[in-house]
Each structure stands twice: as C-alpha cells, then as structure tokens.
C-alpha cells in the first residue's frame, strides 16, 4: 500500500529521520528525455525555508537516480531513486518517544503495528511527499513527450477562511506563526490540455483517482471537483453544462462538471479543490496520553511551518500529473484496430 498508479506506478519508501526516502517508478515509457534541472526545481518548490512563511531548517533534497535512465532518456525499465537525509545526527527524542502528539499519527501507527519510528514522525512525516514530487515531475515530462504538454497549476485559494489576495493570505499564515499556532486552507488545481476520453468508468473514474491521490497527501481533509459542494446546493437547470461545437471541437458552455463527465474527461479544463487542515504541531501545551496510557502534557518544541499550503502546491501538482499520465497510458487500450 505504498504504490500509486496502475500503469505509471510509484512505489515509495522512507522515514523522516531514516537514511533516505525514495522510490521506484515503474511503467514509465521509454524515450522520455529526463530534464534533471526541472526535476530538481520541482523538489526545491517543496523545500521549507527560503521564505518567511516556512521554517528555517534547510534540507537540501538532492535526488539521485539509480537506474532506468541511459544517455539522458528513460529506457522503459524501473527508475529507482533516493534522496538521502543529510541531517541525520543523533537527537534527543525523549520528549516524543513515549508520547502520542494530538492529531498526529503517533497513536494510530502504534495501534496498527505495535511499534513506530518516532523520530520526526517517521513514515507519517510529510517528508515522504518528496518522492511523489520526483515521480510527478517525471510524469510532467512524459506527458509532454507523449504530445500532451498539460498545464497543471495549483494555487492557494483560501487560508484560514480568507479567500483573498496573496497578501491577505500570507498575513493569515504569519499571524498564526506569531501566535505559535497553525492555520489551514484550500488549494485549487487546474489542468488544461487534457483531451476528451481519459479516465475509466465505474471504479477508475478520473475524479475518483484524483480524489484518492489528493486525499493521500498529508493533512488533506476534503476534495471536490467542478462546482463541488457549492454546486450541489443548486438545481440541475443551473448546473447542467450545455454542449456546443466550437472551432472544430465539442465544448460545454459552462464547466460545472470540472472537465469530467461519467468519470471521463470531456476536453474542458479540469479543476478541483483540496482542503488542508492546520498543521498539528503548534507551540502550545496540549493534553495527551503516553504509551503507558497515562495523561501527559505535550510541550512545544523545535521549529515548524505554521501552514502546509505553500509547500503542498508542488505535491498537489505532482499527484495530478501522475494521475493524468496514468490515465493517458490506460487510454491506449480503450479501442482496437481502426474502431
């Protein structure tokens, strides 16, 4: 259950404070030119630090490709890669070792496995998403090589309930940080350039695949596409998208469907929202229990982001790119002969 995708597949591994995170990308077609600079630039987008909005900790996420690339192109064989954790010095974990931090995965991992790697959240740390960014960046390159230079664009739509200018939303983040608190929000992602006919019926609906991909990102609490929850407050006569024929292609005059009908793309822009909760780590004392089931107080410690959204943008795009490439490759088996 650490594998994403059906044909284009990422199987990932890695804990926050282990030797490395990484993965194996299987099913990438041969012939994709691997633009290393682009992949690294995507990784850099999810780095903390850099701006006042993130933490100061500097992780240099340098990806090392271990296989599947030859003379600058993919060969069709699996692409192993790793990002080594450079900052692995021994630390003092005594404050979290025996404590279940509220709204983290400490307790549930312990309940499931009877053990957990408590260092920095272990497998449940958002650090694992770096592997997704590598696979997503490659998916973008593969889509382009396949003749589908999709425009995938994730933006922050709302922070702390404020849907406003970038300035206002950044203000919400800085306010939360100043208060030793965290704040949630919503990311909108738009995918332009998808032809009609991608996505599979019933169990493989394109929006269901997007929902699973997005909800698998740490801190995601909700997903909606097209007119989403709000559209469900209206009537069919207001929501239905009339078809027309424009410039040689079928279009809809409105796009409440968000580019997907019956689970299959209709050629219009795909768009969806993902809601992310406020980060669970805050600089306040919190009530909890320890591994001996005694009450305890979790003390604030360390330095952390106060909002996940800025760093989640490339992750949302990466998951979207993987889903789209997968749908693209699956669509190659939809028909036979000249039919």
């Amino acid at each position: 259950m650490n594998t994403f995708g059906n044909i284009y597949k990422l199987t990932c591994f890695g804990e926050s404070h282990g030797p490395a995170i990484g993965g194996v990308i299987d099913g990438c077609p041969a012939g994709v030119e691997v633009d290393m600079q682009f992949i690294q630039s995507e990784l850099d987008r999810r780095r903390p630090g850099g701006t006042a909005l993130g933490t100061a900790r500097d992780e240099a996420d340098k990806v090392e490709f271990l296989s599947g690339i030859f003379e600058g192109r993919t060969t069709g064989t699996p692409i192993g890669f790793a990002i080594f954790n450079t900052d692995q010095r021994s630390r003092d974990y005594s404050s979290i070792k025996d404590v279940f931090r509220p709204s983290h995965a400490d307790y549930t991992y312990f309940a499931k496995y009877g053990t957990r790697d408590y260092r920095g959240g272990g497998r449940s740390s958002a650090r694992e998403t770096a592997a997704r960014v590598v696979a997503g960046a490659l998916a973008k390159l593969a889509l382009k090589a396949a003749g589908y230079p999709l425009h995938i664009d994730a933006r922050i739509a709302e922070v702390g309930g404020v849907r406003g200018t970038e300035e206002e939303m950044n203000g919400m983040i800085l306010d939360a940080k100043r208060d030793g608190d965290s704040v949630g929000g919503i990311i909108t992602c738009t995918i332009c350039g998808v032809p009609a006919g991608w996505g599979e019926p019933v169990a493989g609906k394109l929006h269901a695949m997007l929902a699973a991909a997005m909800m698998s990102i740490n801190a995601a609490k909700g997903f909606e596409y097209g007119s989403g929850f709000e559209g469900c407050r209206h009537r069919g006569s207001e929501q239905n998208d009339a078809f027309a024929f424009r410039d040689g292609k079928v279009v809809t005059l409105t796009n409440n469907s968000g580019g997907i009908q019956g689970g299959i793309s209709n050629g219009m822009d795909i768009y969806f929202n993902v809601a992310f909760k406020p980060i669970a780590t805050i600089f306040k004392q919190q009530q909890s229990v320890d591994t001996s089931m005694n009450p305890c107080v979790v003390e604030p410690k360390g330095r952390h982001d106060s909002c996940v959204l800025p760093r989640a943008l490339p992750i949302v795009e990466s998951m979207a790119a993987m889903v789209m490439l997968d749908a693209c490759l699956m669509s190659r088996s939809s028909r036979i002969g000249g039919y």
Copy 2:
C-alpha cells in the same frame, strides 16, 4: 477498472438496459452466514418508486447468487451474482441515440470508446450501483461474522442548500420535481465500532480509500471527512484532538479528525460527507450537439427521480462497508508473531 478493493474485491458488470447487471465478489472469507433477506432488503432500499420522492417505475431487483455459497455460508470461493433486467422490452431510443445529453456521460463514453450503448445511459447509468449494494450488504455480514458489528449509517444532511428537518428537505425535492427540475445535496455517513489500527499508510490511507469509493458513485462531486472543509478554515489549536484515556481505551476529547489520523483509524467514530450534484436529467429543453456535431435540442422525456440522495443512502453505506471489510482483512497482515 471495474474492480473495487484489495482483498475483499467486487468486480462488477452491466448496462442499464442490457440482460443483467451483477458481479463477482472475490476474497470474502469462508464461514459468513449469508442472510438473503438482509441483502434483498438492502437492495430494496435503493429501489425507485415506493415513495413520492422517487419515480414510479418499478424495478424488482432480485439478486441471484450463482456460486460461492454452500449450505447458507460463504465457502471462500468467488461469489458470482446477477440481477436480471426484467424490463427489457424494445423501446424507442431514437431521441437519445444520436444526441449527447448535457452533463451525462454520453459524449465522454463516445470520445473514449468510439461507441456507446445509448440505451438508458448504458454502463454510466446509476443502475450499476445495485451490484455494489449486494457486495456491501455481504460486507456488513462479514464484518459482523468477524467480530466487528459496525454501525454504518448514512443520512441526508442537506438538500438544495437546506440543512434542516426531513420535512424541509423533502419539500425541496418535491418542489424541484414539480418544476421539472432536479436538486443536489449532501449525505453524511457515520461508522461506529471500528477499532484503532485499520487503514494503511501513504497510498492506502483509510480516508483516501473512502474518498475513492464515494467519488466513484454516480453524481458525487465532493468528499470530506472529520471537520472537512470547514475545519480547514480554523487554527490548529482549535482543531487538534486532545488524547485521553477513558474506560480502558485511548479516546480523543474532540473528533475533528473524523476517527482517522495518518490514514489509520484511531477508534473514534468515523464520519464523512459526500456531495451529490442535481440529477442531469431534467424536464426542460436543453442545448446540445449530436453525434454529427450539429447543434440540437434535447427534449425532456420519460420519468426520472429529481434527487439522487434518497436512493444513494444504501450505496454510500455499501461502499463504506466494503472499504471497512477490506481494511479489516488487510490489518491481519500488519504484525507477525506475538509482536
């Protein structure tokens, strides 16, 4: 892409006006007592007709089990089943044969496959969900047999933007019907009785599996769990769920996490919302194009529901039950020995 689940799997088939719909349930453990009356009663819940809120058309959905059950119990072998379409008389499909109905899957199926079974929506008809109800009902029985008599309860939370009494919400549906229109809404589902430790990390997060399952239901436009979109408008100090130890088990004092942390159940109630759009079939003329890409008008015809929600309740519960049984069975491999 017509298979749901990892260990407990439903592979389904069937078109609205073909000979039958049905499926194969694979991975159901041996020894489950098959309560045929219960399964049929679940199927009856999604029948139209019956109430003023649904259509008058009477489909008697009688499931026939073809294998995998012996002397009243599952044997561990695959369970084939079919629901034959009794109402297969020849009809006049000329009004929809060459027309892409707005916000239906007519155009996208055509774009994907170069062909489509246009009779009653074919595979994209909500009729396919009857197969899910069969598999979901059996999943409920299997969970009970496994010692987990979960309480899975879906309710209509909102219709046409109105979050109110059943009377008010029914009024919205009848109003839409009277106007020849349709209306959307939101279903809330609660799952009680799930122990801590179900769900898989990263790609198999319990809420991601629920999201994929729910978004695969016809007309679903959005999914959120726990405090969902609304919770993402708040701060961490307001959203974090403090742990405590009560009556011999770990609990959280609030449940904004919706019973799931890090993709794994924490033993609290699981709850989530699913938004359903207004049904695309309405009794109004609509602009569209035909298969020759000429403009056309889609004329209203036949009798249809004006709101999908009443019939969607058992489907939401069924998908939830399948996801839970699957998670239950997967959890059997989490640990080894006495560890």
Copy 3:
C-alpha cells in the same frame, strides 16, 4: 485470486454443481466484433462426450453474455457472462461428502477454508475452465481485430509416455479406460505471428506469464518452453540461436529460445509444453481418510474421463490467447512519442 491478466482480465466464478459458472472480462478494448458461433465452437471443443475418449455425460455449455456487447461489438465496458448448469438435479453425495479423495483437492480446500462444496469437486472441478475458454475465444477475436491474427495451436504430443501417432495415443487412453484407470500426457502449444517486443522484463516475463497461466489449469504438473528441460542438458554452443536478417526481418537460425529472449518475444514462433497428470478419479478402491480422520476406502463411482488431454487442448489455447492479448495491450505503453 480468481483473476487472470493485467489489462485484459478475466475474473471467474463457479462450482461444478452450483447454479452457474461464469465470469467478468474487463479490459477488452471497444470495437471487437463478437463472433458468437466461434466462441460457442471453442466451448464445444472442451465438451466431454462426443467421442469414445470422453465420458458420455452431456453438458450443453451454452454461454450467455450479460453485458459489454452492443450491436455485435464490444463496447469497452466489462463483459459479464454465465454458463448455467442445466443438470442440477439432487444427487446422492453421501459417498464423497465426508471423504477426502486421493489426489483431489478435497482435503486441501477443507484445510484452508474449514468447509467445502463437495458436490462434484466444487470450485476445484475442471468445469471452471469453461469460463477460461470463453475469455480465450474472445481474446483470439480481439487479437485479430488488433491486427494480430495469431495462429495458436495446441496438440497432444505424448500420452502415457508414448510420443507417437494419434492412433497409438488414443489407444493408450482407451486401454486406461478399459482398465478403470487414467493416464497422463503432454500437450505442445505453438503460437505463430507474435511480433518482436511483447512481454515485460523481470516479473512479467512472457514465459513466466505463460507458465503461471498453464500451471493454473487443473492437473498441470510441468511447463517448459523452447528446448525446455532437454535443452538444459546441452551446451551453450549447441543451444544459442544465431541471429540473421531475412526478408526484411531479424530471425534466428535455430529456435531453442522458443521465440522468447529475456522474457520478450523475438518474432519467432513461440512454443511450449505442458504436462498433465493422470486424472485422479479412477475405478479402483483407494485408501483414504474421512473428515473425522478415520481410515476409509474410496469406492469407484460414476463415469469420468480417463485422460484430461483431449479436453485440455482448447483450455491451453485459451490461456495462451489471454496471455498474448494482455502482452499486446501492455506493449502499447512501452514507448512514448515517436521514440
């Protein structure tokens, strides 16, 4: 674990004496013309009776398609089908109900599931293979529609250790029958017309897929391809297949590789052998134990084939056709763009 294939998938169900056997074929591309007569003729090939070599019992295996076909062609949606067991009258199973027949699956099913459908072998009966023949026949049609009219031909190569004329081999079968015994043998299958480049490296090697498919057939005990076991008794200088260029294509001057190198087809004929054991049901008293773990004697009863090979021919071909279509569809994702 009742699903074959990766893209073209058969999920099958059914017990020997239950209401029906059948399955769901998912992943069949749209546009395949479904030649019902051909499919039925393939099913007829595996029928017992007809010849002196088989049993006299007459099963009319009539397949009913329940979905996925419209106006004579596949639509891309899943194809449900069933073969109803017409001969379901109540019988006296007291002689086998509590007894584990030697070299049948009675005991192992009981050990695995704690229960078993003992009527006619239940799920372990060779009757389930009829579903494979349906999916295999459709695979042959799909390959043809895709521009690959493969010639797949299974023949009996050896019976009871005799590798001879049809007459001699038939004699071995009749001799065994007369003696109330059964006899095993070897089937050779040849696949002509496969282009170079089908099959996947490492875990999806074409011959490994063929091996898994063939070994899943009831009574199969061995698989070898190309020069097989015998070739492994020789030296590399004798076994290597030199390449040459003939009539515009790369060929090998010998074909000890059996048309597959590194798990990928090389354009030469693919050929392999499958060994089938003598049928376990014989007309002799046999020592066994019953479900109470007491010694017992299994008494001969009923009428049965004395050799599985004549009926296994269409099954071997069907499994081969499914593997080839699956490889064909997977090969569509090997490369990208014009590369």
Copy 4:
C-alpha cells in the same frame, strides 16, 4: 511489471552497470527481527568468484537498508534498499553496443523499447537477482517470526545431463569452462514445514505462483513440481497419493503431488525442479546481426561463468521464500470468526 507478490511485495530496479540495484519491500509485517548477517550471507552465496566454478570478478554486494527498520525490527512500513555498484569505471562497450548477442535479450529489449542500456546486459543481466535475494532472505526471517521456520533447500540435481555426484557435476562445469563453452542443468528445491491450507484456488494456485516466480529467474526454461513430467507418463493408479492419518495429522503415503493439491498445500513436503539453460555467453565466435541489420560476428570477450546453477541456488530459495510468505499472509484472510 517489476513487482513480485500480492501482500509481501518486492518492487525492484537496477541495471548491471548503473549506479545501483535495489528495491522496495512492501507488506512485510511489523516485528520481524532483521538479522543483517544472515541477509548478507545469503547475498554472498550468489557471489561469483570464490570457487573455481565461478568467475574471478569480485563484486562486493553490500546491501544498504534505507527505511522500514527501526531498532533492529521491521516497522510495517516499506523497506527500501540498495546495493551500489562499486565497479562502475568507464569501459569499452564498443564491441557490444551495436551488436545483438545470440540468445541474450539485446535484440528483444531493442525491439520493445527502441533503446537499451547495453552495458553488461543492462536490466536483463542476472545482477538484478541480488535484489530478490535480499527480499527472499527477509522472507525467511519473517516466516520464522510468524511461527513457520520453513526449511527451504535448493540443490543442483543435474548438470549437462549428468545426474550424479557433486564431483561429476562439477566436472561437467569445468569441462565446459575449459572448452570456452557453457552448460545447463536442473535445480531441485524442497520446502519442508508448510502447513496444509496455503495457496489460493484457480488463478493463485501455489504451484502456479512458484512456476511464475521460478520462470522469472534468468535462464530458466522449465518448471515441474511433484512427480512432474515423468509422473505424467504414468497411470492414475500409480500416481495417486493415498491419504492416511499419522501422529495426529493427515499425510499422504506417497508424495507425487509434491505437497500441493488443487493449488493448496497439503502439509507434505513441497518439491519442484527448475531447468536452467546453458549461459548464452560463450568463448566462441557467433553469427549475429547488428543494430543496422547487417550480419556480424560476435567475438568472445571478458570473463564469465560457464554454468548458472551454483549461483542460482540462493535465488531459487529466495523466490520460494517470497512465494511462501505471501501465501502465509494471504491465508490469514481465508476464514472469518471461529469458523
């Protein structure tokens, strides 16, 4: 298609002369004590050199675990690992770059992908099997931790057609080496300690899983289990395994079934044979074609093994261990409740 297994899964990567080979092991239960020395000793068994029978090239295969292990035990999260290729110095590949070596995968990879990493055979090199040995060694440890300390033992049964003493078989290998030639043979593997009830019906038969696993090993040409091909030359009365009850368990008096009936283990020893062809690399001139489709002569070069069998032993055992652990974990879902 670089993933083995259903619950216990290895997804592997790596080319012979790339930076590293390795993989991700997903689905290993938590709590397995990871005996690093044992894993390394298994890897050492497949090393060349050491004996007169192998090549002199020294590859130090040191595995580095990158995740999924904490305080000496598995945590239930995916286990990433890599074996770095220490010997990556630039070489002269001009002699193989444009040439398709007979009975290697050079041509078929090229036909499939339009490109290939020609250095040392790339992905098709037997070097990839080192990743399988790591996953197999861990599977052995997990089986033991689960209470099933299986005894899995692979031995060379035959070399160059000689089924004899170790001395004679070694003589065959040295003779071939002296002649600049190679020689094939057969490995027998026995698995003791498997309880009755492992393996899945129809598509997941235990011997079909073993066949797929074994046939995926480089150079494998045939697989048989129990009495195999030879048993198929006999009659049912000679081959059937009578049941008896001894020392509190059901046994068979003979074991022609090789411990598997109907695809499910019966508690007796499992045994099977795998045939390996003579290594394709020989020290003789061979006819071939180049990438421009011109005839050419492949000149002998470098140092290579003359027989794959000694090094294949731990690989056969590793694949067997993975199949068995997978079957063990799947069997946990066979039944429900106390049934």
